[in-house]
């Protein structure tokens, strides 16, 4: 069972969503959803819920311990800042992906959205290709473009009744194709010093990008836990029938979730372009894998409804620490990629409560 940040009595604390909290209290009647299973199975799966809840944190601690034993440089402040910096784009992206996976859907358009947003940014801000110099308005336009693309994915899915998998596969290529077309296949440099500063300047010792990613995280927390749309996303992911019966407009929730995801991808695209100082067609490459891995490694259930953006924070740190550690240990990039592939499979195996899945498709 996934843990989640759960604010209560004005405080914010971590708690589990399940029965384990009531261990010391009077016993409850056994849950009825185990009616057709023998009791022993149910009890053992409840015990394993607790384990699952803490698994991502546990993995992170063990991973960090192993890497720092192998290479003490890992724990140097300089390296930790480097980790934070390289986590900033994946974190921002994964905030968006989290909402989609919470909904029980999948979003393949991450890379298309990132390249679209980065393209809009570099072409509207001061650059080496044209005479535009719209400054911060370019940032707003970039984020808006990506948001519109997300909304479009949502509309395509709900209006044409196409599964999210296919709808976002399509929008991925539409976004990518459009940005390649606009950039003419070359890399365009971003020369606006203020926008480059998003990546280069520091505040309290941390790169500005880290602060922006932190703000994106805080925003995602507010959305998920304090707003109507966040609650509705969780409810739809947890039980579409229940949500519909309760009068929730499923179409609106889906479109909103994809729009929200597009918003986060847009910010991530701006950060990525600022970090690289340029944008080209391949700026998004590999980023979807990182985002989806982070969400899943963090423990958000692929079947929807369970987990959330706090899980994803831990997932992003795990993924980033692992790749940072492998670089520190001098492991070949190809092996690194293999390791990440193994990790996503292991994470799903550990976090998915497969006793509840009857059919695996």
């Amino acid at each position: 069972m996934a843990y989640a940040l759960f604010p209560m009595n004005g405080r914010v604390r971590l708690m589990t969503f399940n029965a384990n909290r009531v261990d010391s209290r009077p016993p409850l009647k056994p849950p009825s959803d185990i009616a057709s299973r023998p009791r022993g199975v149910a009890l053992s799966s409840m015990a394993s819920h607790r384990w699952r809840a803490l698994a991502p944190l546990f993995v992170l601690v063990v991973l960090a311990a192993l890497i720092s034993v192998a290479n003490p440089n890992f724990l140097e402040v300089r390296n930790l800042i480097r980790i934070a910096n390289s986590a900033s784009v994946p974190l921002t992206l994964a905030m968006g992906t989290t909402f989609i996976i919470l909904l029980g859907s999948i979003d393949l358009s991450v890379e298309g959205a990132v390249s679209l947003s980065a393209m809009v940014l570099v072409l509207l801000a001061a650059n080496n290709l044209n005479d535009n110099n719209y400054g911060w308005a370019a940032v707003a336009a970039a984020v808006a473009a990506s948001t519109v693309m997300g909304l479009a994915s949502g509309v395509i899915q709900t209006m044409l009744r196409i599964p999210s998998f296919m709808a976002t596969l399509g929008t991925w290529f539409i976004g990518l194709g459009f940005s390649v077309f606009m950039l003419g296949g070359s890399a365009v440099r971003l020369v606006d010093p203020a926008l480059r500063g998003l990546a280069l300047s520091r505040f309290l010792g941390l790169p500005f990008a880290v602060w922006i990613a932190a703000a994106a995280f805080a925003f995602a927390v507010v959305i998920q836990y304090y707003t109507r749309v966040g609650r509705h996303i969780v409810a739809v992911g947890g039980g579409e029938d229940v949500a519909e019966l309760s009068g929730i407009n499923l179409v609106r929730v889906r479109i909103a979730a994809f729009g929200l995801a597009g918003f986060f991808y847009g910010i991530a695209g701006v950060l990525a372009a600022a970090q690289l100082g340029q944008s080209d067609a391949v700026i998004g490459d590999g980023r979807m894998f990182a985002a989806v891995t982070a969400v899943v490694v963090g423990g958000t259930s692929l079947t929807g409804g369970e987990g959330g953006v706090v899980n994803t924070l831990i997932g992003v740190i795990i993924v980033t620490v692992l790749s940072n550690g492998m670089i520190l240990l001098g492991i070949s990039p190809y092996v690194q990629q293999t390791a990440q592939g193994l990790m996503i499979i292991a994470a799903v195996a550990l976090t998915l409560d497969r006793t509840r899945l009857k059919i695996v498709k």
Partner: protein, 503 residues
């Protein structure tokens, strides 16, 4: 005659709720055994035990007086026991022949390659056995429901090829979706096959059971309460046995049933959904419980789903509190103040792994929003208040609904609608799957809701419950209302009287 297949002292319970207690049933050679009882009486569970898909907690099965242990449906098939499922078990995307021999393709295969021509030929022979002329290469989805039922039967008969003995074929409500002509065809086939197989036949329609069966078992509350030769008993008599204890006014809190108010909350005139039900006129007053009685296929389920917004009306008028309203989505029903309490709590009622508090506010998040964000303290207090008012047994509003018992889950669903200010509640089999104690609590709650002026539209598993809870009982048959009964305190109609208008 001696028993071929027998169940001896079978008991089975699900999470403490007994579904079968010490059931003895036997099937003799070349016999059709009828099995009747209300929903929840244990018929389906017994069938599943006989088919090997449920294992009994205690008791045993015997075949020709030798103990029989069934671990799964395949075991049962090896012993010549096959089941024709209520919800058909055919794969609609495969051809008829593939379905008939599904799981038995090996006999047509050489080196792993299936010889489809031989399979099709064999399947055609199977269908000929029951006198059905269907092209076996047809995609199953293109067949009518009745034709598919025949294919199911043919599939069950393939067991003949793998066993020397006579078959036992379990028919679980095979007629519930069939028209009269198709039922006659099915019965003719069953009679023709009696020389080679015995049948166990489950149905709600007593007349039918008497017509086809040689012997009838009546089940009630997980027990076999009577066994009769079919020619020695009448349908009304069977029904009396089936519903058993007379009305227990105590059980249904009849003394707490107050006359309804004057205000009309819900009114329909000529309400209809094309080809499903028509001309439904009903009036639901504040504080009133209107129960709809009817057999499967009578249209009563669809009436409630129409009011709940799942099934858009195609004819007639519906007005809520005097205002004509068109409800075409559950969202609109909620806005109109109609709360739907579904029978499938696990799928439609609650998000099981979310907390009680979140589930309660799902239909009305506004009441806990302040300055555009969710106020968790207010949400929690609200949930604590509902837990107290509805006596939900839960240590805290933060625990996941899946850890609650069925009765308490039902209360959480009710709390959601009360919190959303719904004045009209549609209770769709509200006590299904609940034990006796939990049922009583739900009855108590129904009375309290009435006292608060809620209007309740009820369909329930048993006639007894419908009569016990309702002020007014409407009886439906074949998509139309056939009778109305006053069921207010002290004037409860007789079940047999209702039944006459149901079948």
């Amino acid at each position: 005659m001696t028993a071929m297949l027998a169940a001896v002292q079978i008991s089975k319970s699900f999470v403490g709720v007994p579904a079968l207690s010490n059931v003895d049933v036997e099937v003799r050679p070349s016999e059709v055994v009828g099995l009747i009882g209300e929903n929840g009486a244990g018929k389906s569970t017994l069938m599943r035990v006989l088919a090997g898909t449920h294992r009994p907690d205690s008791g045993s099965l015997t075949l020709d007086a030798k103990p029989l242990r069934l671990r799964n449906a395949r075991d049962a098939a090896v012993h010549g026991i096959g089941m024709v499922f209520q919800e058909q078990s055919l794969l609609l995307n495969l051809s008829v022949a593939e379905n008939v021999y599904f799981g038995q393709e090996a006999q047509f295969a050489r080196f792993g390659i299936v010889n489809w021509r031989r399979m099709n030929l064999a399947a055609r022979r199977q269908l000929e056995k029951i006198g059905v002329d269907i092209d076996v290469t047809t995609r199953t989805s293109e067949l009518t429901f009745a034709a598919r039922q025949m294919v199911e039967l043919a599939k069950a008969l393939t067991l003949e090829e793998s066993t020397q003995r006579q078959l036992v074929i379990l028919l679980d409500e095979p007629t519930s979706m069939l028209g009269q002509a198709d039922i006659e065809t099915l019965f003719a086939r069953v009679r023709a096959l009696k020389a080679r197989a015995s049948f166990v036949f489950v149905s709600h329609r007593l007349e039918e059971v008497l017509k086809i069966s040689d012997r009838v078992y009546v089940m009630k509350d997980g027990r076999v309460v009577a066994e009769h030769a079919a020619d020695a008993v009448t349908a009304p008599r069977l029904h009396e046995i089936m519903v058993g204890r007379g009305l227990q006014s105590e059980y249904y809190k009849e003394m707490k049933q107050e006359p309804p108010g004057a205000e009309v909350l819900l009114e329909t005139s000529n309400l209809g959904v094309a080809r499903i039900f028509r001309n439904v006129d009903l009036k639901l007053h504040a504080g009133e419980v209107v129960g709809i009685a009817g057999v499967v296929g009578s249209g009563r389920e669809e009436v409630t789903r129409c009011v709940g917004g799942f099934l858009p009306q195609t004819n007639g008028m519906l007005s809520v509190a005097g205002v004509p309203t068109r409800i075409v989505s559950p969202g609109q029903a909620v806005k109109a103040g109609i709360g739907y309490v579904p029978r499938e709590r696990r799928i439609e009622g609650l998000v099981m792994f979310l907390s009680i508090a979140i589930n309660i506010t799902l239909a009305n998040l506004d009441c806990v929003m302040s300055h555009g964000v969710i106020d968790y303290r207010r949400e929690r207090n609200l949930a604590v208040d509902w837990i107290r008012r509805l006596r939900i047994k839960a240590p805290s509003p933060d625990i996941a609904c899946r850890n609650l018992s069925g009765g308490n889950q039902q209360k959480v669903v009710l709390a959601r609608w009360m919190n959303a200010g719904s004045r009209i509640l549609v209770l769709d089999h509200p006590t299904r799957g609940l034990d006796v104690g939990a049922k009583e609590e739900v009855y108590e709650l129904v009375r309290e809701l009435s006292a608060q002026g809620k209007g309740i539209l009820l369909i329930s598993d048993t006639l007894e419950e419908t009569i016990g809870l309702a002020h007014t009982v409407l009886v439906m048959r074949d998509g139309e209302i056939t009778a109305r009964f006053d069921a207010s305190r002290g004037r409860k109609p007789d079940q047999v009287e209702l039944l006459r208008h149901m079948v």
